[in-house]
């Protein structure tokens, strides 16, 4: 009988000790010393990020096309597909004796050849000198109705200009010269804008400007047509230099 209280006391003390350890505060863990900053957004990826010279890729790939014909001089726009190839409109280079290309930074480059097609108002022009370092990234699909587009070109043969608009939808060629449908948009263009690249929000080329109407609507050769032409070179016929008449 004498062991019972002692055992009870010991048991109570043990229980208290064990349960007490559970609610006792633990010693502080070591203070952190290795602060590693989480990676922030690279300045090059931020909105409004600077390009090597402050011009956007769309501006750097855009060119002014000068058609020196027999007794006339015409200007249009175009954009670089690669170092020596650019896209413009067929009517921009029609009846050309000499084709010259001016880049956004004022360089003048002589074209060496031009190819056109009858299925769309598209011409592919090649140059001997490099056009620059920024080239078009072509979209896979045409823009949808309501999509916002941006056009970069040389309206009226003047300064490099950027305009925006919305795709109104597909329509038939108002000039009845091209096969298939074309796109209409609200972007305002001028003579000289012909051949301008049309960009989507991702900066991809989704078409080529080629006409306008009196309602200030612009008409665009869709990128699907350009892609089909570039995938099938036999559809492009070399333009012979000289004057047709």
């Amino acid at each position: 009988m004498t062991r019972v209280p002692a055992a009870a006391g010991f048991g109570v003390a043990l229980v208290l000790a064990l349960t007490g350890c559970g609610i006792l505060p633990a010693a502080p863990s070591p203070a952190p010393t290795d602060f590693v900053p989480s990676p922030s957004q690279s300045p090059g990826e931020m909105t409004g990020a600077l390009s090597p010279d402050g011009f956007s890729a769309a501006q750097r790939m855009s060119v002014r096309v000068r058609n020196i014909g027999c007794g006339f001089l015409a200007t249009g726009s175009g954009f670089a597909l690669d170092e020596h190839t650019l896209v413009t409109n067929k009517h921009v280079v029609d009846n050309a004796k000499i084709i010259e290309v001016s880049t956004y930074d004022g360089r003048v480059i002589q074209a060496t050849a031009a190819s056109t097609t009858t299925i769309a108002d598209i011409a592919i022009v090649t140059t001997e000198e490099p056009l620059g370092t920024s080239y078009a990234s072509r979209a896979e699909a045409d823009p949808a109705e309501g999509d916002v587009i941006t056009i970069v070109g040389y309206p009226s043969g003047g300064r490099l200009t950027t305009t925006s608009g919305v795709v109104l939808g597909t329509t038939t060629d108002p000039l009845a010269a091209a096969a298939g449908s074309v796109l209409a948009s609200t972007a305002i263009v001028e003579p000289g804008s012909s051949g301008s690249a049309v960009f989507n929000a991702a900066g991809e080329v989704v078409g080529v400007v080629y006409a306008k109407n009196n309602s200030e609507q612009s008409f665009i050769v869709p990128i699907s047509t350009l892609n089909a032409l570039l995938d099938e070179p036999s559809l492009l016929v070399p333009d012979t230099e000289g004057c047709s008449s």
């Binding site: 009988m1 004498t2 062991r3 019972v4 209280p5 002692a6 009870a8 006391g9 010991f10 109570v12 003390a13 208290l16 000790a17 007490g20 006792l24 505060p25 633990a26 010693a27 502080p28 203070a31 600077l50 010279d53 402050g54 011009f55 002014r64 000068r66 020196i68 007794g71 001089l73 200007t75 010259e100 001016s102 880049t103 956004y104 930074d105 004022g106 003048v108 040389y154 043969g157 003047g158 300064r159 490099l160």
Partner: protein, 188 residues
């Protein structure tokens, strides 16, 4: 203890036990109250000792932990103060850099506009140069045509007046067109 104090089995002064125990069981029952009291005392002492030891250990532990927390708190405060100072300095530097960047961006915009303007001037000058070359070619053809007309007039006997007049009208019309083109190039 003296001999008088030693307990005896006889005599009326001894009150306990009042009845002799018939057997050993009764003898044991008589000794139990004293043993139980000692047991409780021992148990209480053990518990008290354990409590004292436990409380001492607990207090010691809590004190140690408290000291560690106080020390780390101070360490963290120092680190926070240092980091706060660094952050303030970094923010000030960032504001300066941002201001520089804004100024540079504005200068870049001006430079871009200038480049665009110069490129446009270059292109317009190229257009004008080509147009003037075209006009010069036209003027040269005009001059050559008029020289031919003069030559024909010098030998007017070989040509009918009607053909000479028609030739003059044609040349004049052509030269007027060239002059109009020249005016358009020069005056815009």
């Amino acid at each position: 203890m003296t001999a008088d104090a030693r307990p005896t089995n006889t005599g009326p002064t001894n009150p306990v036990p009042s009845n002799p125990a018939p057997d050993a069981v009764g003898t044991s029952a008589l000794k139990a109250p004293r043993a139980s009291g000692k047991g409780w005392l021992v148990a209480a002492l053990v518990v008290a000792c354990l409590a004292v030891v436990g409380l001492t250990a607990l207090t010691s532990y809590l004190w140690t932990v408290h000291e560690q927390y106080v020390a780390q708190n101070q360490e963290l405060r120092d680190a926070a103060r240092e980091l706060g100072t660094d952050v303030a300095a970094t923010r000030a530097a960032l504001e300066e850099v941002q201001a520089d960047l804004d100024e540079t961006t504005a200068q870049l915009d001006v430079a871009k506009d200038t480049i665009n303007g110069l490129a446009n001037s270059e292109a317009q000058a190229g257009d004008d140069r080509l147009a003037l070359i075209d006009v010069a070619d036209g003027l040269q053809q005009c001059a050559e045509a008029r020289q031919d007309l003069i030559d024909h007039l010098n030998e007017s006997s070989r040509w009918t007046p009607e053909s000479l007049a028609a030739s003059e009208r044609s040349i004049t019309r052509y030269c007027d067109g060239v002059e109009d083109a020249y005016d358009e190039v020069v005056n815009g």
